[in-house]
Symmetry: C2
Subunit: 113 residues, 2 copies
DNA sequence: TTTCTATCCATAGCTAATCTATATATGCAT
DNA sequence: ATGCATATATAGATTAGCTATGGATAGAAA
């Protein structure tokens, strides 16, 4: 019985980048935001999230800054960079293209044989 | 510069299963069919395709039979089993759910914070 | 006061999926 | 004879994501 995945592989960076367009957030907040916006369908595990954020820091898509939350905790807040915004655009358009292509395969068409 | 992927990870089995609902096909034919139906957006590499078919044979989602093509070549033709048909249903509904959830994250909503 | 839950970060190690590269073989056209 | 399209297959690398674990703190509950 194939286990239900927490998210669609290959979409995590896009989801994080998109989330950061709304407002700078710390890691935990990003995970919560994605969970809530998706009505609990998408879950980002810590073991996926933090490595992803590290990768994105290295690529310069986000920058991180230690701050204190409203509730008095220290946390690293991530902000989208210009490069990150550009990358989001690339990923969005590739994603749309892929989804459209998958739709054509899944749909019953008569042509293209 | 992130390289453009050949397909969305996690969708290959679904695409293969769907392709086999149209007609039994050999591996090479499956790859061609997906490429054509997707208007060349999705490419299934041999190194992805054959291992995937092996996995699916083991799980009993497809069965394979050596035959000869119209052009006189030997090739292994794959047919969908009942279990494969069921699996396709599962994957399709999970996929739809995921895509809808991703859509909610990507869309600019005001709620759910 | 102790315990639990929620908030927050991070990494090591595993697994699974996909891609790159390579090997083999044949029918057909040039 | 050379090359191209057809056809199968595996080894090896890479990468993403998950499991499991570790740590720390605030606040509520017991």
């Amino acid at each position: 019985m194939a286990k239900k995945p927490d998210l669609l592989p290959g979409t995590l960076d896009m989801l994080i980048l998109k989330t950061l367009t709304r407002a700078p957030l710390h890691g935990y907040g990003i995970a919560l935001s994605i969970k809530r916006f998706s009505d609990d369908v998408l879950t980002v595990e810590e073991g996926s999230l933090y490595p992803a954020l590290q990768r994105m820091l290295l690529q310069g898509w986000v920058k991180g800054e230690w701050k204190v939350t409203e509730t008095g905790r220290r946390a690293r807040f991530y902000t989208l960079t210009a490069a990150g915004r550009k990358q989001l655009g690339v990923e969005l358009s590739q994603f749309d293209q892929m989804i459209a292509a998958i739709g054509r395969v899944l749909r019953d068409a008569e042509e293209a044989g």
